[in-house]
Symmetry: C2
Subunit: 207 residues, 2 copies
Amino acid sequence: MKRGAERGPYAKTADVRRKIVEACMETFAATGFQATTMAEVARRAGISHNGLLHHFPTKEDLLLAVIERRDSQIAATLAGAGAPDAEADPREILASSIRATAPEKWSVADLELDAVLSGEAAVAEHPAHAAIAERYEGIRHFYARLLGQLSDQGQLRTDGGDPDALATMFLALAEGLRQQWLFDKDGVDVAASMDLFFDLIVADEQS
Amino acid sequence: MKRGAERGPYAKTADVRRKIVEACMETFAATGFQATTMAEVARRAGISHNGLLHHFPTKEDLLLAVIERRDSQIAATLAGAGAPDAEADPREILASSIRATAPEKWSVADLELDAVLSGEAAVAEHPAHAAIAERYEGIRHFYARLLGQLSDQGQLRTDGGDPDALATMFLALAEGLRQQWLFDKDGVDVAASMDLFFDLIVADEQS
């Protein structure tokens, strides 16, 4: 698409929505969804309160837009690691997706946002509970497919558990390590721990 | 101490403070620290706003009392697993402390509280950031001592990493698994995954 073709009312709306979602991500990360007011988001986005309500009538609409945006960033990262299919080497894709969990690949503000929102959303009544449950489900499914392929190829250490349980552990470890990293950025080496777990699970490469 | 000796003004103060802290834990779990108002805590505790301020002048005071209470519950659980000393079997203590991570050992409300507060506190400016950092530090230290003893006894699988890194992984896995469990209580088996990790790290028992 030519640069000029992005102009016009639709591009402008998209720009404003993007600006609002970014302002909202900062506000949610700083004070959480529950304590965020629409007025604060409007102030940070530099638009009027009515302007904000035109694009996002409720705070729930904002929350879902923020989660959708983070989900697409996460999906892009996993897709960047490679799609699990018959052609690709699942060991390579798994190793590459693990490298993508390193907090240095993300902004601290994004990691704080994930921590604040998924923490809040752990309460069953939270409006983002279902969306975060779905995110976890999607990530587990991604890992489970790769681990299932490795299992079929005899590349998992035999005492290493089934692919679904291991997928849950990969996600738990990645989340738990990044959580600790936010409290101790020098002391916690996320990538090294993830690599170690990979080596515990996946058999040595046949030469 | 005789039961009667607990009566009197001091016991009464302790009772009121306990009631407030419990009301506060419910409120924090439901709406987070940031969105909680002192009025809401007073209402849930069934005391006047002034009565609340007498015991806890600010919301930060409440927050630290709640964290202190959870910390002492966690410390009691780890102590229940056994103290790492020359007499005790570190393998047994580690296995027992792992069993204590199972979410079934706790109330869902307490686990939701931990998730909400440690999520919020991941932001460096949050008033509980230092207290949660200290909690993580204490738990890692507990695991690292046990794993160090096992390493000295030649009971760690040689390719299993150093005790500090493994301690970080134990905590990450326990937190990450409980987090997923809060979203999928039937699909996530925290205890089984922790046991599997134990088996990956610790060498088979010599017979």
